[in-house]
């Protein structure tokens, strides 16, 4: 088929889903592109760095409004595109299209949520089932995730990764030899890069309370930067109420780009704008205004870009559950959950709706 990427991107900006066959095609083509990327991609400033998005599509639109649209602005996304938010499918679809369309201006790093094990229970799998009726789209994207790079270096000075450092990795060269084309393992350097967290109260590594990766302290950071002749580590992975956090005497920053996380945390978000001279500026923003978001009812009504409705209102394969309720659409042996306390249409509790929407 002839792929019109600009048309796809345009549809997605209107929050219209791409047809399953189109998703399959763009994932195939993007895998080919990513296959030749190293585990450590080197880029130059200026670039705008984005942290966790977690399916908050309307806030991604805010990011483009604030930071500029592709290809006018170079973007580096640090992972966690899916799960938890209501629009993981739209989010990952548009980012994949943008990467395919402007491969040198968009970099996508793998986060801990770009994983089959995690997306099975944190929302993305269920959202795919709901919007497409089968798990094929989930398979296309999770296969694509296996190809995403693990890290990016900006101007040979700033090391960018989703989570953090690993006791098995002392130099950039050690990252390059990892075989990344697989599901994120439970343990080992690849797991550590996407799961680790800094701990300003420590100097060394310690086992992480998350159950994967490590926490690492000041001496680890200093040693890594010194050994690799760089001056800053930039990562995401942890919620920051102010949208960002700077640690270890400005040797490490966390950037977090999902405002009002899960539609209830009330936090700010930010994007990090790195200028040509390497100047770092955190551009802080709030959640997109309420009147620019769909109502819960509208959120359920998704359309394919050819106008065919999907999800609850599609013709085939739908479970016919009412608005606000949740039903598993044939995944895992058809356990339909009757929505408990939040089955009513009147209750606008985005969190309850979110949780029940997905289960």
């Amino acid at each position: 088929m002839v792929l019109d990427l600009d048309a796809c991107i345009e549809s997605l900006f209107q929050r219209q889903l791409l047809a399953e066959s189109v998703i399959k095609e763009i994932c195939e083509k993007t895998k080919e592109l990513l296959m030749s990327e190293s585990n450590v991609v080197h880029i130059k400033a200026p670039v705008t760095v984005v942290g966790d998005i977690h399916g908050q599509f309307y806030d991604l639109l805010e990011i483009f409004k604030i930071g500029g649209y592709c290809p006018d602005t170079n973007y580096l996304f640090l992972g966690d595109y899916v799960d938890r938010g209501l629009y993981s499918v739209e989010t990952i679809s548009i980012l994949t299209c943008l990467k395919l369309r402007y491969p040198d201006r968009v970099q996508l790093v793998r986060g801990n949520h770009e994983s089959r094990a995690v997306t099975s229970t944190y929302g993305f799998y269920t959202e795919c089932m709901k919007k497409y009726g089968t798990s094929d789209v989930w398979h296309y994207f999770t296969d694509l995730f296996d190809y995403l790079t693990l890290s990016v270096v900006i101007d040979n000075m700033i090391f960018c990764v989703h989570g953090g450092l690993s006791p098995s990795i002392h130099t950039i060269d050690q990252i390059k030899v990892i075989d990344r084309f697989k599901e994120i393992p439970h343990e080992g350097p690849m797991a550590d890069l996407v799961w680790s967290d800094p701990d300003p109260g420590r100097e060394e590594f310690a086992v992480s309370p998350r159950g994967a990766g490590y926490t690492f302290g000041s001496m680890v950071v200093e040693k890594f930067l010194h050994e690799n002749r760089m001056d800053h580590i930039l990562r995401a992975h942890q919620l920051c109420m102010e949208g960002f956090q700077v640690l270890f005497d400005d040797q490490l920053s966390t950037v977090w780009s999902a405002p009002n996380y899960c539609y209830r945390c009330g936090n700010l978000a930010s994007i990090l704008e790195i200028g040509v001279e390497g100047e770092r500026h955190f551009n802080v923003f709030e959640a997109a205004p309420e009147n620019e978001r769909p109502t819960p009812a509208e959120a359920q009504r998704t359309l394919f870009s050819n106008g065919v409705p999907t999800g609850l209102f599609s013709n085939g394969g739908s479970n016919g559950a009412g608005v606000g309720g949740g039903g598993l659409n044939g995944s895992n042996g058809a356990m339909t959950f009757a929505g408990g306390a939040s089955g009513s249409n009147g209750g606008i509790d985005p969190v309850q709706d979110t949780i029940h929407y997905f289960l």
């Binding site: 801990n112 229970t121 086992v207 309370p209 159950g211 996380y261 895992n332 306390a341 969190v351 289960l359």
Partner: protein
């Protein structure tokens, strides 16, 4: 070293103790005391556990001026099963309190927690004096007692010493106990903690069914596996707290897979950090690494998996103390 243990160099003033000689009173120093009133309802008592972030608390009867037992998630689970009439206890085995409880639940009356105290029979109320040496308590921990109430010589409770608290203390002061180094270096296989048949349920199993299985077999958690037998997650009695929260009893009828999802989603938002979907440790790991992970993640057991993600064993806190207890005499 990447075994997760902080290998500090010893300072000149580090003192070396025999960890078995620690007085238990020292480990519970300054512990905030959480006590449940014997006449509060089961729902209120669960609230206390939830709010205080503990998995058990002693029950005090102000009328009789004494502690009458412990309330923990195991008891709560047994209570829920009784209320739902999912448990049949033969008349001969019913104690007077249990009969009272069953009658009350049959009539759907508000049940005072004193009737639910130690209901599961799993963890009877044990007390020790503050001067008791840790070495003595470790054997109790190794045989399945999860906690002991520490009393002073006047009979006042000074704190509750749990398996978790003890592990945390030992790991934080590891450099003071060089005699523990050899066992830390041992592999799980060497210690016989792999190659154990563990109880599991599929993701499809209803939560209620899983609770009944736990209760029947006297275990506090089950591995949740997919249809290929690979580890998906974990369901444990402590998860019962999520059901009691806001009385979300409808969650009992979810599949374990859905339930595990819900619990994860809520927890991640509260801490701003998502946890790894399964809490496990590779069969090739060392005992020391396993303890570090138990301490860091604050769970009560880690499933032991092989390279294909199949469960080949489990290391619970009880197993940890069984191992440590075995080293005391050698």
């Amino acid at each position: 070293m990447s075994d997760g243990i902080n290998h500090h160099r010893e300072g000149l003033t580090t003192s070396h103790h025999d960890w078995t000689m620690l007085q238990v009173g020292k480990l519970v120093e300054n512990q905030p005391i959480v006590i449940i009133d014997a006449n509060s309802s089961v729902e209120d008592a669960s609230e206390v556990l939830l709010k205080q972030g503990v998995s058990s608390a002693p029950i005090y009867d102000s009328g009789r001026k004494m502690f009458v037992g412990m309330f923990d998630y195991s008891d709560l689970m047994t209570y829920i099963l009784l209320v739902l009439k999912k448990m049949e206890v033969p008349l001969d085995d019913q104690t007077m309190e249990m009969r009272d409880l069953i009658q009350k639940t049959n009539r759907s009356q508000n049940v005072p927690v004193k009737l639910v105290s130690d209901l599961s029979g799993n963890d009877p109320f044990c007390t020790v004096l503050a001067e008791t040496k840790l070495g003595g308590v470790v054997n109790d921990f190794g045989s399945g007692i999860h906690r002991v109430a520490v009393m002073d010589s006047q009979g006042n409770m000074t704190g509750v010493l749990t398996q978790s608290l003890t592990l945390d203390y030992l790991m934080r002061h590891l450099s003071e106990f060089p005699q523990l180094q050899p066992v830390m270096q041992k592999g799980l296989q060497q210690l016989g903690l792999t190659n154990i048949k563990v109880l599991s349920v599929t993701g499809e199993t209803q939560v209620l069914e899983a609770l009944i299985t736990m209760s029947t077999h006297g275990v506090s958690s089950l591995a949740v596996v997919n249809d290929q037998g690979a580890l998906l997650g974990n369901i444990s009695m402590a998860d019962v707290q999520h059901i009691m929260k806001d009385l979300r009893t409808s969650w009992l009828w979810l599949s374990c897979f859905q339930f595990v999802s819900k619990v994860r989603l809520t927890r991640g938002v509260e801490t701003g950090e998502d946890q790894y979907p399964v809490l496990d440790v590779n069969a090739k790991s060392t005992f020391g690494y396993t303890l570090s992970k138990l301490q860091a993640t604050k769970v009560h057991r880690l499933w032991v998996i092989n390279d294909t993600n199949h469960v080949v064993g489990v290391v619970s806190l009880t197993d940890v103390f069984k191992v440590l207890g075995g080293y005391i005499d050698s």
